[in-house]
Amino acid sequence: MSIRVEGVSKRFGRFVALDDVSLDVPSGELLALLGPSGSGKTTLLRVIAGLETADTGTVRYQDEDVTNRSARERNVGFVFQHYALFRHMNVFENVAFGLRVRKKKAADVDRRVRELLGLVRLESFERRYPSQLSGGQRQRVALARALAIEPKVLLLDEPFGALDAKVRQELRQWLRRLHDEIHMTSVFVTHDQEEAFEVSDRVAVMQRGRVEQVGAPQEVFEKPANRFVIDFLGNVNVFHGRVENGRAQWQQFQFDLPDEQHEEGAPVALYVRPHELEIERSANGVASLRTRVERINAAGPVAKVCVSSAEFGVELNVELTRERYAELGLARGDTVYVSPRQARVFTPEYVI
């Protein structure tokens, strides 16, 4: 069942939560809504679920216009950020709720609930109450409860937000495997880009009630549509240069401009990710920046080095592979030469 959102806007008083949002989720896809707090991602999810009504715009499931249908009639599985388990019901009754209100036969309810508890590996917990479960277990109960009604689409609001790092990692992979098994059109909200990239087929990056970019994780990461997206997707170094001789220039570095036309002398912003900077011991005649090593954090899969240039008053974050780091043998206070391998150039129309 595909989801199509067209021109949806929503205000809360004077706060614009959604500003003319359109989004397509093809059948069977797992899409992540990624954005900072207040970007409207949860509101969009709630509008898709029917828990919130849009001021304008339409929501379609497949070819059916469901804009005016209540959440009750939409038959969606919704997993709440903090699970919203029914506190006075045990695990079994929580999962059975959707079936009980549909007046299913007791035997069918029993069979279906046990099947789902097996799926989320909580068979032995059916008599427990939510307060007696860990965060990860609650999350799985919430998921089983949402799946019990055989929903057409599955919507998850920050599904791993309240869990600790290790459980989160496990549940992410588990959710991805589950999705591959049942192939239900799913949308989940997250503010964690790593989570979005790891789990989803496609990512929709949101800001201030708008969808800034939709694409496969790699596409969004490598070809960010604008400054917000590149800024939001992890650490980045920014240089403020100008257009000179038809190229973007900052100090002695020059880069090609994007397709759009630019006036000579216009200001441009150059974005360079930490792993796109190269460190050398000597200048070697190439355009490079003379810097001093300020801090080194080599605990992790990559070595993070912070260098500064007194001359230009900038501080840069550089990421090196462990091999390269060992080869260079860097220490605090060393003088090194930094050069960017590539940069993304944006014009300041996209001022954030």
Binding site: F12, F15, A17, S37, G38, T42, T43, R46, A49, G50, L51, E52, T53, S70, A71, R72, N75, V76, G77, F78, F80, Q81, H82, A84, L85, F86, R87, H88, F97, G98, R100, V101, R102, S131, R145, A146, A148, I149, E158, G161, A162
Partner: protein, 308 residues
């Protein structure tokens, strides 16, 4: 912040000389003793002065007293029932919806706490009395409100109006709308939502409100005094009967009935204490869940209303 405050209180209490502490404790005990314990004991002592047999006879022999007990046992439950309906509806409305006038409505619900019951009674007479705004219409349709059961129920409901709503508003607010939204997304209709979920979640708070309003309704005097017309054997409730017997120098009868009224109060006090512990735990659970939620979603617009 709170931690520091707690520490300074502890430090302060540590610094207070024993003399100050014991003076204050003694004074408090003395005041409670003189104003609360002694009168209650005295009521029972006076009532049972001539033995349990006489006590029992005094209560049941007098037809008017019997009627007063029966009337109170009719009026109080009816008032409590209307409070339950109103309280749940009002609390739900205030806790779940944001609308203009919401703050005013919340304040108005508290009004009966501050208005003198006599004034409330007079207001009812002004509306429903023979010379009142609705007097002519009521007479034309042969409906008696003032000096009759409906008036008693109305007056009692008015004075007990805040109890249930006051108890439920913070509880519903602490519980938050998420469980209800989850139930809606799972296909529950309004009634299923209410009786399978909300009612179960608020049951102890509701019962607490019921006990408070029952206790208040049973003892109500001022408003009822005005609207009842004070007719023996017809519109005298227990408190009114106690006063009348006392005025007629029937001290044993008056105290026997007063002791029964006091017993009701003591029973509700015990129930209240037991429930208080239960609801406090419930509220704490709900509040901790809520804090958790707030931590996670800083800056998100709050989903204001249940859109079902």
């Amino acid at each position: 912040m709170a931690d520091r405050a707690a520490k300074s209180t502890r430090a302060a209490s540590g610094r207070d000389p024993a003399l100050v502490r014991w003076t204050l404790i003694t004074a408090t005990l003395a005041i409670v003793g003189v104003l609360v314990v002694v009168p209650v004991v005295a009521v029972f002592h006076k009532a049972f002065e001539q033995g349990p047999a006489i006590y029992w006879q005094t209560l049941v022999a007098d037809a008017d007293t019997r009627h007063a007990i029966l009337l109170t046992l009719t009026v109080a439950p009816l008032a409590v029932l209307s409070n339950v309906v109103f309280g749940v509806v009002a609390a739900w409305t205030i806790a779940r919806f944001r609308f203009p006038g919401r703050a005013l409505l919340t304040a108005l619900i508290d009004l009966p706490f501050s208005v003198s019951p006599v004034v409330a009674g007079l207001a009812l007479v002004l509306i429903f009395g023979l010379q009142g705004y609705l007097g002519t219409w009521l007479r034309a349709h042969d409906i008696k409100v003032i000096f009759a059961l409906p008036g008693l129920v109305l007056a009692t409901t008015f004075v007990t109006l805040p109890f249930v709503a006051r108890e439920l508003i913070p509880l519903l607010e602490a519980l938050g709308p998420d469980e209800e939204l989850a139930a809606v997304s799972l296909g529950a209709n309004g009634w299923q939502l209410f009786h399978r979920l909300t009612l179960v979640n608020i049951r102890w708070g509701l019962l607490y409100g019921v006990i408070l309003s029952a206790a208040r309704a049973t003892g109500e005097f001022g408003a009822v005094y005005v609207v009842s017309g004070h007719i023996s054997g017809r519109t005298d409730t227990m408190p009114l009967r106690v006063e009348k017997l006392f005025q007629e120098y029937n001290t044993p009868g008056s105290f026997a009935l007063a002791s029964l009224l006091t017993s009701f109060a003591l029973v509700s006090l015990a129930l209240k204490g037991w429930l208080e512990r239960k609801t406090r735990r419930e509220l704490a659970d709900a509040a901790s869940a809520q804090n958790f939620l707030l931590e996670g979603a800083v800056g998100q617009p709050s989903p204001a209303a249940v859109t079902a």
